[in-house]
Symmetry: C2
Subunit: 267 residues, 2 copies
């Protein structure tokens, strides 16, 4: 599976990137493979935790109904919850707004040995704020710089950063939002404000393109994940995690004392 | 009082900067003036708090017995404690060390309307760590860059940053440490480790010169405060605070509603 093709290099146009790719895989095999990958992810996470030197930060961004919650549920539940902390970033509160936009984020960055998942993130501060004209282009540029610097700080301490934009088509979003209206069990997920944001589709496209292009670095690359097919999205995210953790190559530490001739005796 | 001469511009040599300057002032007048300044500081702090847009961060660094605690006590107690938060940064704990060196710092940066005082700070991570060879020159350089970026992030949100190195001579330090040994009421302040650090005087001089030179920026200038005379040190710090707050020029916000013809009636 070639994941490089989903990686954001220079200036991107989301319209040119596939939302409905399935990599010529079939659903059934792919779902089985995702579970297989899960077993290896669990092993690698165990080594990461034991080693306690490196950490992994996964940033999840998407439009409404883009599949962030589903990705957390179906991919990250394959890993020991003790080693994974998911943080949902909602609208900043009054106290948050009295500080720089990374102030409420920093405490949630992963400690050595841990995997942190950000369901939405500091990227909202250069996305929704821009569409709603709370900040202008100049301020957005400054924030891109602050974000790159912040991510470099984390990287220098041994944090790998993986940033995923779950890419759905307008038609797929329409169907998912409609489902939230039609299915009583999904009604609670429906938010009338989502329709208003949907009306700003092109504006979101523009600010996403700008943010992803400006902040995809070697330290912290962005991937645009085809996300119309949930099973394929899960497969790709799992594979990305797997390759990242393999590359980090965490090792069990050596025993802190000499274990020769040590035995646990009967009582 | 010309404070610019204490400001760190380019590469400094601490040996060329005075520790015993008194600016031709006499002690008695100067102490009265410090109290006068305190009254104006209190007024400006009140405006800063009411305005709730800008904030002030004061970083205090010094060698052992350099006068950090005394400065906090004699200068900042002139201001309403509700508007000032002093944070003492001690040796990082196990959890701190699992994160980047600014992780434990960021939560303590001042909210809009507030004054934060850091008694020791993230600068220890490029000072004591360097003298004790926990980090090398290359890592120190990276950290200088992270510090400059971090301070720029705070500055962009409206935080003024004032960094003060309290500059004492080796002889003055000797006397103060000796006093801690001789005076039973000061015994508790004496730490045998301080003598060891004192033995590394020249190494500390070198890393301080390096750190101050590398991180004195327009956003966040360093000042080398002559600190052999406590009364003069207090006078200079108070004056610096005064000029900084005056320059920030905080304003009481306008009433949020029309106050014409509003009166508080008898009951």
């Amino acid at each position: 599976m070639d994941l490089k093709r989903y990686r954001v290099g220079k200036k991107i146009k989301l319209g040119n990137l596939p939302t409905d790719d399935t990599g010529k895989l079939n659903r059934e095999d792919s779902e089985a493979e995702t579970l297989e990958i899960g077993l290896e992810l669990a092993k690698l996470q165990d080594r990461l935790y034991a080693e306690s030197k490196q950490s992994l930060l996964v940033v999840l961004q998407a439009r409404d109904a883009g599949g962030k919650d589903g990705t957390v549920k179906h991919v990250f539940e394959l890993i020991n919850p003790q080693g994974v902390i998911v943080t949902n970033f909602k609208v900043p509160n009054e106290e948050d707004l009295k500080h720089d936009f990374l102030w409420r984020i920093h405490p949630h960055t992963p400690a050595a040995g841990m995997i942190a998942v950000f369901n939405r993130s500091y990227y909202e501060d250069v996305l929704v704020t821009r569409v709603h004209e709370l900040i202008g282009d100049q301020e957005a540029k400054r924030r891109f710089e602050h974000i790159r610097n912040f991510e470099a700080l984390l990287a220098d301490r041994g944090t790998r950063i993986l940033k995923l934009y779950l890419h759905v088509s307008a038609e797929e979003q329409r169907q998912r939002l409609q489902e939230r209206l039609d299915d009583p069990e999904k009604n609670w997920k429906f938010n009338p404000a989502d329709l208003k944001e949907r009306g700003r589709w092109d504006e979101y496209t523009r600010v996403y393109e700008d943010a992803l292009s400006a902040t995809s670095t070697d330290d912290a690359p962005w991937y645009v994940i085809p996300a119309d097919h949930k099973w394929y999205r899960n497969r790709v995210v799992a594979q990305l995690l797997l390759e990242t953790l393999r590359d980090m190559n965490p090792q069990y530490p050596e025993a802190a004392f000499d274990l020769t001739n040590v035995a646990v005796g009967a009582i």
